[in-house]
């Protein structure tokens, strides 16, 4: 059994790739390779999307490079497409690993007709009902109370599902975060809260964010266990999250898991020059040396199943092809026109919106209203 409220992050694999505890039997080289592939895919998605951003084909993007072990590990710790997820805007590695098709993610970023969200949300704010992945809201921590409610419904309905709610470290300062944690605790709802602690909220460091020693100890106040994990060690992430998820599923109430990780890139395109403004090159370099993907490579090396340079290059080019194809397909579907504004505002189309739609139709198409 893993322990809550540890003072150091739980770890299975050291930075040099050596297991520091016995490697659980299920982490065969084949399984690790699969995790590795998924992480590389997410990393390359990041790079490609930054390129699309520079080309002006999308207007917002929040990188998750450096956080792949946390997100892919989380996806592999729950029942994809069965459990429900209330993610936040940096979670594309989670979405990809949960099985959201590349085309769906890319379409949302480009706001094309193939976008499931119909071009209404800003880029990188996807949602996919087929994967029980609820549409992302920009408003920080606003997903936390609804996630608690989602879990309360699951308990009420007696279904064998849990709810996962993710957020950054900054989100834990919002009132909504505390309200949602408290509600889930009081209701003993099957909610797994996952803090992707990448240590910065735009330019605000965790130390300026909270006087609390770390995030996971806050769980104590809400009557749930809090776990602390090395979020760059995918073995640790999966070991802890899958065990905690099963406890939550078993009806033991909610839990909070803090994954300590780092965002290597900028917060978003709005602060492309993070190193100049608020953090040091040395700090970034120190975390680059803890790269979660490199750690799996080293582990595979250690296990005698190394990733060859050729295999790595193939994976990278396959990921690029996958994104390129998705972009072509998405762009070929065209841009949604003015009509999408008025649909889905309500379940029906009230008369005032019908009038406004007629007005805009006349204006846009030169048709008489």
């Amino acid at each position: 059994m893993i322990q809550p409220f540890t003072s150091d992050p739980l770890q299975w694999v050291a930075e040099d790739g050596r297991p520091i505890r016995e490697l659980p039997a299920r982490f065969t080289p084949g399984v690790l390779r699969d995790l590795y592939r998924e992480m590389v895919r997410a990393r390359e998605f990041d790079k490609k999307l930054v390129t699309l951003l520079r080309q002006g084909r999308t207007t917002f993007y929040a990188q998750a490079s450096g956080m792949e072990a946390t997100q892919v590990g989380l996806a592999r710790s729950i029942r994809a497409g069965h459990d429900w997820v209330w993610p936040y805007y940096r979670d594309h590695a989670l979405a990809l690993a949960l099985g959201v098709p590349m085309l769906d993610l890319v379409s949302q970023c480009l706001g094309t007709n193939s976008d499931l969200c119909r071009g209404r949300q800003m880029p990188h704010h996807f949602g996919a009902a087929r994967q029980n992945l609820v549409s992302i809201s920009s408003s920080i921590a606003s997903q936390v109370p609804p996630a608690a409610g989602n879990a309360m419904a699951q308990k009420y309905l007696g279904v064998d599902e849990i709810t996962v709610c993710t957020f950054g470290d900054g989100a834990t300062s919002e009132g909504d975060w505390h309200a949602g944690m408290n509600m889930a605790g009081a209701a003993q709802a099957p909610c797994l809260f996952v803090c992707e602690n990448n240590q910065w909220a735009i330019s605000t460091n965790l130390r300026a964010q909270t006087a609390s020693e770390n995030i996971h100890i806050k769980a104590k106040a809400y009557g749930m266990p809090g776990y602390y994990v090395d979020g760059n060690d995918i073995v640790a992430v999966i070991e802890v999250l899958s065990q905690v998820a099963e406890q939550v599923r078993a009806g033991n109430g909610p839990a909070l898991v803090e994954c300590l990780t780092y965002r290597i890139g900028s917060h978003s395109n709005a602060d492309a020059d993070a190193e100049k403004n608020y953090r040091t090159r040395e700090e970034v370099n120190a975390w680059l040396a803890r790269d979660p993907i490199v750690r799996v490579e080293r582990l595979l090396d250690h296990l005698g199943a190394p990733v060859s340079a050729e295999e790595r290059a193939d994976l990278i080019s396959a990921a690029h092809r996958e994104v390129d194809e998705a972009v072509l397909k998405a762009e070929a579907s065209g841009q949604p026109d003015w009509r999408i504004m008025f649909e889905d505002v309500y379940a029906d189309l009230p008369v005032h919106l019908r009038e406004q739609a007629a007005f805009l139709r006349a204006e846009q198409e030169g048709v008489q209203a």
Partner: protein
């Protein structure tokens, strides 16, 4: 520190001006108020080292130190609530909410505390503070980075609500807000931050809250707007002028209080009013302006008061530009009023 210890703000002599962008004018206003009065503090998410996501506070922490210009935890309720407490205890807080869309988490503190403390205490306590926040669309932000929530606040007694559209007003209104006795919600039309430039005096000045400005004189109809729509309102007036129609253009600048006299005098003269705002139409503040016009000038109106507003839909990402009432839509409403 008492008010009498505060220093004069700027040193320039009367008459001198130079060109600033809207956001530069806002930065300068804060800089001068920080220099003038030690009770002024500036804070919010990322306003310190980063200088704010739009760089409105760039350089201020460097100049005034972390005690006076500082980052807060990511919590609008804390930011607004703390501003109220500081103001009650004698400081002059200027708090930044990173986007107007995120007033939500701080809403209760604004409407329950900031707006009401003077009244509920019989005037014993008050919360003179400024909440600055970028608002409005046109920056491809989707609904959580484009909204115009001013009407939630104009509906709440106890709050003053302003929105500049020129660098001159941005600076003068912000300074007046800092020096006033009330909580002020100061909306910054973010698409004008760098798109609009104008002459700003080097000497200290303020722009009184509650006074509108005539941007263009005319006799045939009055276009009334505020904030981000103003450049388009003026463009529409220019287009009409080419057709021989003289439109008067009024910038409200303040919504609470608003300049009824200026509006009524103008509409009495022209007989027609076109109200422009990018906020959704239903319960839009301009509904109040329309009501007051008809109440006072019913007999003199040559056409119904026309309203050009945002649609009653969440702000859409892809159709970002179509949503906004541009110059053509404003001009078309003017033509409807003229042809009525």
């Amino acid at each position: 520190m008492t008010a009498t210890q505060s220093k004069p703000a700027a040193s320039g002599s009367a008459g001198e001006t130079r060109t600033l962008t809207l956001i530069q004018a806002i930065t300068e206003a804060m800089q001068e108020e920080l220099a003038r009065d030690e009770r002024v503090v500036v804070f919010g998410e990322d306003v310190g080292a980063r200088g704010g996501v739009f760089l409105a506070t760039a350089g201020l922490q460097e100049q005034f130190g972390q005690k006076r210009v500082f980052d807060t935890p990511l919590s609008e309720a804390s930011i607004v609530g703390a501003a109220v407490g500081m103001a009650v205890r004698g400081l002059r807080p200027i708090a930044e909410i990173q986007f107007a869309d995120y007033m939500g988490p701080g809403f209760d503190q604004i409407i329950s505390q900031a707006a009401k403390i003077r009244y509920r205490s019989g005037g014993q306590f008050s919360a003179p503070l400024v909440i600055r926040t970028p608002s409005g669309g046109g920056v491809k932000g989707g609904h959580h980075h484009s909204q115009s929530p001013e009407s939630y606040f104009t509906h709440t007694p106890g709050l003053k609500v302003v929105m500049p559209s020129t660098p001159y007003d941005a600076k003068g209104l912000l300074k007046a807000a800092v020096r006033g006795g009330d909580p002020v919600i100061y909306f910054e039309p973010k698409r004008l931050y760098r798109a609009v430039k104008g002459q700003v005096p080097t000497h200290d000045y303020t722009v009184e809250l509650g006074k509108g400005a005539v941007r263009r004189e005319g006799t045939d109809l009055t276009i009334i707007g505020y904030g981000g729509v103003m450049p388009d309102a003026e463009k529409a007036a220019q287009a009409l002028a080419a057709e021989g129609v003289q439109a008067e253009v009024i910038d409200l600048r303040s919504l609470v209080p608003w300049d009824r006299d200026l509006v009524l005098t103008s509409v009495a003269k022209t007989g027609r009013a076109v109200l422009v705002s990018e906020a959704p139409r239903t319960s839009n503040f301009m509904g109040e302006v329309a009501y007051v016009i008809q109440e006072h000038l019913f007999d003199q109106l040559l056409a119904p008061v026309m309203q050009v507003a945002g649609f009653d839909t969440p702000y859409p990402y892809v159709q970002d530009k179509v949503y906004l009432p541009g110059a053509n839509r404003i001009a078309a409403a003017c033509v409807r009023a003229l042809n009525y």
